[in-house]
Symmetry: C2
Subunit: 209 residues, 2 copies
């Protein structure tokens, strides 16, 4: 009896190719190939066969992987979902895992490991590649470097063309306090200029533009 797989990825060439590969694996068959989270919601809302595993990309238009995981958490919290993506950014990995994702696969995984990952999830419920395990291991450490509420507020304003004086006005603070926050961010981010802070914030997706 075949394990049923649903593939959700907007890169059609990839998803169709992957369908071929999965169908060539003994014990696995692809139920359908969907292009985004919205199509998946529609699929679940119709009386179609539910899959054993959902392979879910993250970067998709209309409804992305994170949003889709949020929907699963609320509607089908036990559905086994494996992220399958190029995104190896820590924040994304942690977020997906917290939302109940059973594993996180990068697209450079080889087909044997891919098959092993699916089998592991079906048997024990979770699969972590070495890279992802590293991220989880170090994520507790990283938490120590998180920003305070006020710092984060300041950081968002720093990533704009406002002068510090203007930022002080917006936050109802003295320019001297702003200078204090600037100093705190410099220390935390090992930055030596506002530009450095901005580059860090955007690069690490603390702030989006």
């Amino acid at each position: 009896m075949s394990e049923k797989i649903l593939v959700v990825d907007d890169h059609i060439l990839f998803s169709q190719s992957l369908k071929g590969l999965i169908n060539s694996l003994q014990d696995f068959e692809v139920l359908d190939v969907l292009k985004n989270g919205q199509e998946l919601v529609t699929y679940y809302e119709s009386n179609k066969i539910k899959p054993d595993i959902v392979l879910l990309d993250i970067r998709m238009p209309v409804m992305d992987g994170i949003e889709t995981m949020e929907w699963f958490k609320e509607n089908f919290p036990d559905q086994k979902v494996l992220a399958l993506t190029m995104e190896h950014e820590e924040e994304t990995i942690i977020k997906m895992l917290k939302l109940g994702c059973r594993g996180y696969l990068l697209k450079d995984i080889d087909p044997d490991e891919f098959r092993y990952a699916m089998e592991t999830v079906l048997q024990s419920g979770y699969y972590y590649s070495n890279e992802v395990a590293e991220v989880i291991l170090h994520s507790e450490d990283k938490r120590k470097d998180q920003f305070t509420k006020r710092e984060l507020e300041f950081l968002h304003l720093v990533c704009s063309e406002r002068t510090y004086k203007e930022i002080a006005g917006e936050m109802n603070l003295s320019p001297k306090t702003i200078d204090g926050y600037r100093e705190q961010l410099f220390a935390k981010l090992n930055a030596k200029s506002r530009t450095g802070v901005v580059l860090y914030a955007i690069k690490n997706k603390v702030v989006s533009i």
Copy 2:
């Protein structure tokens, strides 16, 4: 007689899946699957069968797609190469085409169109998807707003923690000249601070981080 394809992509799951799909197409067969430009150079330097088409990803470690195209231009200028990538950044598209790439495929192409693209390249030499054709059509317009060579050089250095004085040293210019360039960028980008310039450059993917 089958058309011979070489797949160059570091995402193994994708490339192995794609191999399966291509091999399932009548008249096509995959010679080999390589992980980066360096592996491809090694392949060409050995006495192996040359492919009819190379499917080449851009973002790869060790030797990327651009570098690989440069190698082809110098060593096998007539080799038919199709870019196959997620990168829909205009600068990248133009660069690849200028280096002799016969077509530029995005990974959200469907398998039928994919097959048609390969057939078109084999027959007439070139294939452009609608999206890429748009880029080419508008790239002449855009050139009017493009940065000069020196401005671009400066812009990349601005998106760093170097002081203008340091940038002047790196570009072998006077700080007054740097100030001139700063002014030029401010005018072109309607910016009023270095932070504004940095935000624009990153947002519009003129500079990547």
